[in-house]
Amino acid sequence: MSMIGQGLSRWGLNSPAARRNITGYIFISPFILGVLIWFLTPALTAGWLTFQKWNLITAPRFVGLDNIENLFRDELFLQSLKVTTVYTLVAVPLGLVLSFFIALLLNTRTRGISIYRTIYYLPSIVPAVASAVLWAFILNSEFGLLNAGLRAIGLPKILWLQEPEWALPALILMSLWGLGATMVIYLAGLQGIPDVYYEAAEIDGAGAGSKLLHVTIPLLSPVIFFNLVMGIIASFQIFTAGYLITSGGPQNATLFYVLYLYRAGFLHLKMGYAAALAWVLFIIIMGLTVLIFRYVGSMIYYEDTR
């Protein structure tokens, strides 16, 4: 510390205020350096790669806007964008509502809540690879459990993973078993709402519905918003389910964006093209987040504005 002090005085930075300023930067610098070297520099390099043609073997060659022009002529790119958008539009709102609902249910009971919490969390804890194989079994059209269930109630079997129109809904259905983390975040938010608000609402004669509408949802809106934003960001980057269960098929019905990017880069060795795909994804996510912050963010109720 004294060495830092000497260094600071040499630069004329030994006044208490300046010293305090510098300390903040010094403390945060290991993190900043790490992010710069291992994350931001590669990300920016991807920007440079966007204008190159590169197969990992021969030297990168400048091709201008070719990669970007090719994107919009590439049907698989448009397909992967469509698949990912549809998945996000359905799975994220559905998951948000369902996990909110479950959190509300669990919040009404206090006894044994930690056991319930753990049970609901369990499916999210099972390693993604394991749960993918498991669901491939459950959804299997011949010996799968889901079709066995359908048969038991007299419904025809569905070719969940072979029919293009059923494959994506099947993966969305499966995603509902991974809601534990979101649910626990809601539950934490619910426990953070002071009882006085409910007591006050009850004195004013509010019923369960109006307490939900006028107390719970407004006070929980920052948490809902957090789950929405993180949910969308994660959903646009979904990979494992499409890769392991359906390999993007049938007929590219589950060709998620990142899966296509992975194939472009590591299967077809089109690194420049993959980098262009990555940048387009970044722009989409950033654009969506900005839109959400602008149009939804203003409806969020923050108790104490810092």
Binding site: M1, G24, G34, A46, P123, V126, G189, Q191, D195
Partner: protein, 288 residues
């Protein structure tokens, strides 16, 4: 808990709506348990049971599946725990310090810098994927454990700082005031005051980070080719794609036993830290 009882003083025993509520909760619990139960059930089956009685319970249970599975995945499990723990230690330290810096220290451009860091949450990891692969390649880090540890330590604190800043903001300023009066510097404010009071927040971060590391799949798949250094996700993936003659993995029982074994560390983690995990979430009052 007492306040909760007060909230509904007129609660009658087993009202119809209450009963309905309980049934609904039980139903949803059952529904959410189905995949886990199936996994455990499959893990005890021998080849014939696996073939003919796949969805029903069948006796005798074949516990030796777990031994066969452990023989194959033990190295992956140990690797993953090792890599995840080392990475997690780095993430926790950097997030605690970063959270403190942005919650408690004053310096020019603090807010813009903080929002710049939070904006990184929007950057999809695939953006850095290919150049990062080349970077690790050029530095000779492919096929080493560093390739698994460094990305976590570098990227993990982005969310970590967000969480810990929110958490540390909630620590009463008076505690810091009195410590400052005793002449404590920033370093000891972090380790003597912030650290012990931030344990729930750090627990939350630990669970989220550990689960994410445990499930990390694509990056280890491309960067680690030496299976003796490989992590559990890729190990399980390889396992389900190969029929191993010696332990008849083709029959499935041992495969699912492997899945169950691979889930156990996370279950233990969540049971041990579960209470703090939720507490940390409550107290940080997650908001963007």
């Amino acid at each position: 808990m007492t306040t909760d009882l007060k909230r509904s003083p007129n609660r009658r025993p087993l009202q119809m709506s209450q009963l309905g509520l309980h049934l609904l909760i039980a139903f949803l619990l059952l529904l959410s348990l189905i995949p886990t139960v199936i996994m455990i059930n499959l893990s005890f089956k021998n080849g014939l049971q696996y073939r003919w009685e796949r969805w029903s319970l069948s006796l005798p249970l074949r516990g030796s599946n777990y031994l066969s599975a452990w023989d194959v995945i033990d190295a992956y499990m140990i690797n993953t725990v090792l890599v995840a723990m080392v990475g997690l230690a780095g993430v926790l330290i950097l997030s605690l310090i970063g959270g403190y810096v942005f919650a408690r220290m004053r310096f020019p451009l603090r807010e813009p810098l903080y929002y710049a860091i939070i904006a990184l949450l929007m950057v999809p990891w695939v953006l850095s994927f290919i150049p990062a692969y080349m970077l690790y390649n050029n530095l000779g880090l492919l096929n080493t454990r560093w390739a698994l540890i460094i990305p976590n330590v570098a990227g993990g604190p982005i969310f970590g700082i967000f969480l810990m800043r929110a958490f540390i903001t909630g620590i009463p300023e008076e505690l810091y005031e009195s410590a400052r009066c005793d002449g404590a510097g920033a370093w000891s404010l972090i380790w003597r005051i912030t650290f012990p009071l931030s344990l729930p927040g750090l627990a939350t971060l630990s669970v989220l980070n550990f689960v994410a590391e445990w499930n990390s799949f694509l990056w280890p798949l491309v960067t680690i080719s030496d299976m003796s250094k490989q992590v559990i996700s890729v190990g399980l993936f390889r396992l389900s794609r190969t029929t191993n003659d010696s332990v008849d993995f083709g029959s499935g029982g041992p495969l699912f036993a492997g899945y169950v074994l691979a889930s156990i560390p996370l279950v233990i983690l969540f049971i041990v830290l579960g209470k703090f995990y939720v507490e940390g979430l409550v107290e940080s009052g997650i908001k963007m």
